[in-house]
C-alpha cells in the first residue's frame, strides 16, 4: 500500500510540475506595446511620397495626426532594441539626420510586413487609415525631442517602394528578421511578469534576447528533470526504508511467534519480544504472519494462531477493516476474520453478502461457504447480488477440497436469482442428484434461456427419460441453441418412438438442426443408424453429406 501511495505521489508531483510548466509557457502575455521611428513632424500635412523621395526612404511611411501636429513614422517594433538598431541603420542609409523612437501602447495589430517597412513590398500609392484608440508615449529618442500625442488620431499609411533596393536590403536583413520573428513567437508563451524582468535585464546586456530566452527555457527544463530525479530518489529511499523496516520487524515477530507456537516461550515472554506491536504497520505484519501460519500449519497451530490473533487485539482491527468504506480494506478484513476469527466473521459476513462492490460480495460469499460446513449455501435465499462464475468456481473448490456435506441443490431451484438457479442445476448434474428430478423438469418452464438450457442438459446428462415428452412439447418454442441441446439429448434418451419427431425436424429444412438430428440418430444405436439411412433414401440422398460429415472420425 505504501509503495502504491508513493508511486501515486511521484506521478502527482511530476504531473503538477509539468502542468505548471505548460501553464507557464501557454500563458499568452505578449503585450500590445510597440516602438515606432518618427522621421518628421509638421503643423501642415506633408506629401508622403515626396517626403520618401526627398529623404531616400524606401517602404511604408505612416502619418499620425494629433495635437495639431502631423507626425510621420516608419517601422513597428516589439522592442526598443530592435527599433534602435533599425533607427541607426535608417540614419546611415537615408538622408535623415534625426529620428525619434516612440513607444506606442495598445495599438491595433499591424501587418507583420510593416515591421521592417523598408524590407517589404507593397502596392504603389496604397493609403490606409488606422484609428488609434490610446495615447502614444515618448520613451526615448535618438535625436533630442520628446512629446505626447493625444488619442483619436488619424493615421495615414503610404507605401513608397523601390523593388530592387527592397529586395537587396531584404536579403541582408533576412536572418535578423527570422531571428526576431522566432523571438516574438517564443515570447508569446512567457508570462508578463517574467517578460518584464527579462526585458529590463536583457535590454542592458544583450542584443539577441532570443538566446537568453532559449537558455532560460533549457534551464527550466533541466530544473524540472532534476526535480523529477530528486522525487524518484526520495521515493525509492522511502520505499527501501519501509521494506527494511518491514523485514526487520517481520523477522523479530516471526521468531517470537514461532517460539510461542512451538511451546518454547510463554505469552509474557513472547509479548516482550513483540516490540511496538501496537503500531498500525506492525499490527499488519503480525496479521500477515498469523495468516501464513494458518495457511501452512495445522494441529496445535490451528488453535494457537486464532488465540494469538485475539490476544493481540488484531480481531478489532480486522472488524474495523471489514466495516471500512474502502472495498480493499473490507476484503482484507473479511479474509483475516474468516481464517483467524471465525466467530467475528459470522457476525459481519451476512451483511456483506450483498455488498454493492462485486469483489466484496464475492469474498463474503466465499467466506460464508468456508465458515458454514453444514449449510454452505444457505446464503442463496438472501442473495440479491450476482453469484459470479468466479465465486461459483471458488465455492465449488472449497466445497470439494474440504469434502463438505453435499446439500440438496433442488432447494435452491426456486431462487429468484438466475445465478443461483444455474449453479444449483450444474451441481445437480455434477453430483448426479437424481432425487431432484421433478424440480429439474420444472425448470424447463423457466423464463430464462440459460436456465432452460441447463435443465435440458440435466435431462440429458442424468438420463431423465420421463422428461422426453416435455422436451418434445417445448421444442417448437425454444431458441436455436436450446433446440440443438434438445436434439442432443435424444441421442441419449431417445428411441424408435422418437423417430417421427426427429424426422419432422429434418423436413423443416434447418441445416444446423438437420445435422444435429443426423448425429443423434447416428449415435442412437443400430436402430437409429438404420432409420438415418432409410430417411436418406426417402429423401433421394439429401442426407448423404450430413452422414459423411458425422461418420468422419475427425468430427
Amino acid at each position: 500500500m505504501t509503495l502504491r501511495r508513493i508511486t501515486i505521489n511521484k506521478f502527482k508531483i511530476v504531473g503538477v510540475s509539468l502542468c505548471i510548466l505548460i501553464f507557464w509557457t501557454s500563458f499568452n502575455v505578449y503585450g500590445n506595446q510597440k516602438y515606432i521611428i518618427q522621421i518628421a513632424a509638421s503643423k501642415t500635412p506633408l506629401n508622403i511620397n515626396e517626403l520618401a523621395q526627398k529623404k531616400s526612404i524606401t517602404g511604408s511611411i505612416k502619418e499620425i495626426k494629433g495635437n495639431d501636429w502631423y507626425r510621420y513614422y516608419v517601422g513597428n517594433f516589439n522592442s526598443y532594441n530592435e527599433a534602435s538598431l533599425y533607427a541607426k541603420e535608417l540614419v546611415n542609409k537615408s538622408e535623415l539626420k534625426n529620428v525619434f523612437i516612440r513607444k506606442i501602447e495598445n495599438v491595433p495589430e499591424y501587418n507583420e510586413k510593416d515591421k521592417y517597412n523598408n524590407l517589404t513590398e507593397q502596392s504603389t500609392d496604397s493609403i490606409t487609415k488606422i484609428k488609434i484608440n490610446n495615447s502614444l508615449q515618448n520613451e526615448a529618442m535618438i535625436g533630442h525631442k520628446q512629446e505626447s500625442i493625444s488619442t483619436d488620431t488619424i493615421v495615414k499609411d503610404s507605401t513608397y517602394y523601390n523593388n530592387n533596393q527592397t529586395k537587396k536590403i531584404s536579403s541582408e536583413n533576412n536572418s535578423v528578421s527570422n531571428l526576431d520573428d522566432f523571438e516574438k513567437n517564443l515570447s508569446n508563451y512567457i508570462p508578463n511578469f517574467i517578460k518584464d524582468i527579462f526585458n529590463s535585464y536583457s535590454k542592458e546586456k544583450y542584443n539577441f534576447r532570443v538566446i537568453l530566452l532559449f537558455l532560460l527555457i533549457v534551464f527550466l527544463f533541466i530544473l524540472n528533470v532534476i526535480n523529477v530525479l530528486l522525487i524518484l530518489i526520495y521515493s525509492n529511499q522511502t520505499q527501501n526504508s519501509t521494506d527494511r523496516y518491514v523485514l526487520v520487524h517481520k523477522n523479530i515477530y516471526e521468531s517470537a511467534l514461532m517460539s510461542y507456537v512451538l511451546g518454547e516461550t510463554n505469552w509474557e515472554q513472547t509479548l516482550k519480544k513483540l516490540k511496538k506491536y501496537n503500531l498500525p504497520q506492525n499490527r499488519e505484519i503480525l496479521s500477515s504472519i498469523l495468516l501464513n501460519f494458518h495457511e501452512n500449519l495445522r494441529g496445535v497451530a490451528d488453535q494457537m494462531v486464532p488465540e494469538i490473533f485475539v490476544k493481540l487485539g488484531l480481531h478489532h482491527d480486522a472488524i474495523k477493516e471489514a466495516n471500512s468504506k474502502h472495498y480493499y480494506k473490507k476484503v482484507a478484513g473479511i479474509k483475516k476474520l474468516t481464517f483467524l476469527y471465525p466467530e467475528g466473521a459470522m457476525q459481519i459476513i451476512p451483511q456483506l453478502l450483498n455488498d454493492p462492490e462485486d469483489i466484496v460480495s464475492a469474498e463474503a460469499q466465499t467466506a460464508f461457504v468456508r465458515l458454514n460446513p453444514e449449510n454452505p449455501f444457505d446464503f442463496f435465499n438472501a442473495l440479491t447480488r450476482p453469484f459470479t462464475r468466479w465465486t461459483q468456481i471458488t465455492a465449488f473448490y472449497i466445497f470439494q477440497l474440504h469434502r463438505r456435506n453435499i446439500p440438496s441443490f433442488a432447494n435452491y431451484l426456486d431462487s429468484q436469482n438466475t445465478n443461483v438457479r444455474n449453479f444449483s442445476l450444474r451441481m445437480i448434474i455434477f453430483f448426479q442428484q437424481l432425487e431432484n428430478i421433478p424440480e429439474v423438469l420444472n425448470m424447463i418452464n423457466c423464463e430464462v434461456e440459460s436456465t432452460r438450457f441447463l435443465a435440458i442438459k440435466a435431462i440429458n446428462d442424468l438420463r431423465l427419460y420421463n422428461g422426453k415428452s416435455l422436451l418434445k412439447d417445448k421444442f417448437q418454442d425454444e431458441t436455436q441453441k436450446n433446440k440443438i441441446e434438445i436434439i442432443k439429448a435424444f441421442s441419449n434418451i431417445g428411441d424408435k418412438e422418437d423417430f417421427d419427431f426427429l424426422k419432422e425436424i429434418i423436413l423443416s429444412g434447418n441445416v444446423s438442426l438437420t445435422l444435429e438430428v443426423c448425429r443423434s440418430l447416428y449415435y442412437m444405436g443400430s436402430e437409429g443408424k438404420e432409420k438415418l439411412n432409410q430417411l436418406n433414401e426417402e429423401m433421394n440422398g439429401e442426407l448423404e453429406l450430413f452422414i459423411a460429415h458425422i461418420s468422419d472420425p475427425r468430427n
Binding site: 516471526e254 521468531s255 514461532m258 517460539s259 507456537v261 512451538l262 518454547e264 504472519i289 501464513n292 501460519f293 494458518h294 495457511e295 501452512n296 500449519l297 495445522r298 494441529g299 496445535v300 497451530a301 490451528d302 473448490y397 477440497l401
Partner: protein, 121 residues
Amino acid sequence: MKRILVAEDNKLILETVALNLAREGYEVLKAMDGKECLKIVREKEIDLIITDIYMPNINGLEVISTLKEEQINIPVLVLSAAGAEDNVSKAFELGADDFMIKPFSLMELNFRVKKLLDKKN
C-alpha cells in the same frame, strides 16, 4: 545425529520446521530454493530431504529428478500445497518417499520423518 535438509521458500515455514526438527534432536540444514538444496546435497552427507514443490530457480520435482539422475539415494519427503495433488503423484513417479499436504501438522511431520529415517537404516 541425523542430518535433515529442509528446502522451502517460505521463510516462516522453513524456520518453524527447522526449529521443530532441531527440538527433536536432528541436525537441520536449510535451503531457500532447489539450487541451494542440490548444492548442499552434493557437499554434505544428508540423511533426509524435506522439500516443497514450488520453489524458485529449481522446483522440488526437479530436485528429486536430479537426485535420481545423479544416483543419490536419500529419502525425500515432499510438502505440497492443497489442490496440487497432481504434483504429488509426479513426485512419487520421480522417486519421492512420502508426502504431506499443507497445512500440515508438525507432530505428524515428526512421525513421518522418524519413520523414513528408520526405514533408511
